[in-house]
Amino acid sequence: MAHAAFLVIAALAVASALGLVWRRNAIHGALFLVVNLGSVAALYLTLGAEFLAAVQVIVYAGAIMVLFVFAIMVLIPGKEETGLDPRRGWRLLALPVGALLALQLLLVVRAGVGPVAPAAAVPGGVEAVARLLFTRYLLPFELTSVLLLAAMVGVLLLARRRV
């Protein structure tokens, strides 16, 4: 049962990732990416990371993708990739190279992550995450807020009308 669920969700994730790369229309790509993020959130659930699944849906599929869709709407896409590609040969070279990369990574996974019995019960859930976040990782957590503030100031500076 768990294997069947994993296979279905994994197929959905891979198919939507391929759709993102394949479709020319950027808005289709954005919707495919939403599907992909949702299926990864489902995989987090099967891994016992409920908090991350919720954050994935709220932050990624919610906030970040809305930002992407807004940018796509503002930038009037659909015209930029229609012309003749002067470097088509080089770009298509990426397909075999990407396949080779996937093959290498899969071989590494096969060699490195053997079927070892998992350790003790996983301390998943919100409580374990919160306990770690506010004890051992308190300083990085606070620095994250500084990072977000810096990003916000930088975006305001960039998006300002030119004087």
Binding site: A71, E81, D85, L105, P123, L132, T144, V155
Partner: protein
């Protein structure tokens, strides 16, 4: 219970698709979304390895990656919008103004 190696293998496949997307596409927005795809693949591997190690440290790492990704998307999209405003075109091939 599905073994962690399956999750890591799926993460490797998703990462490779993201790499191909960054190289193949010409639209900077789609390249950006492919980068998000790669970040997600790495996050999946983090969570899988965290379950294997039997603690929640992997989930903390994913939390920080998400925060950095949010900041990165905001700044990156602002840069793309600014470049579009200057050039009125949206192809990475004629974007060399940040190169010297």
């Amino acid at each position: 219970m599905v073994a962690e190696s399956w999750y890591v293998a799926l993460s490797a496949v998703l990462f490779s698709i993201g790499v191909v997307g960054v190289v193949v596409r010409r639209n900077p927005l789609v390249m950006f979304m492919s980068i998000e795809l790669m970040l997600n693949a790495a996050n999946l591997a983090f969570v899988a390895f965290g379950r294997r190690a039997g603690n929640a440290d992997g989930q903390i790492a994913v939390f920080f990656v998400m925060a950095v990704a949010a900041a990165e998307v905001a700044v990156g999209l602002a840069i793309i919008v600014t470049v579009f405003r200057l050039r009125r075109r949206l192809s990475v091939d004629d974007l060399s103004l940040m190169r010297w």
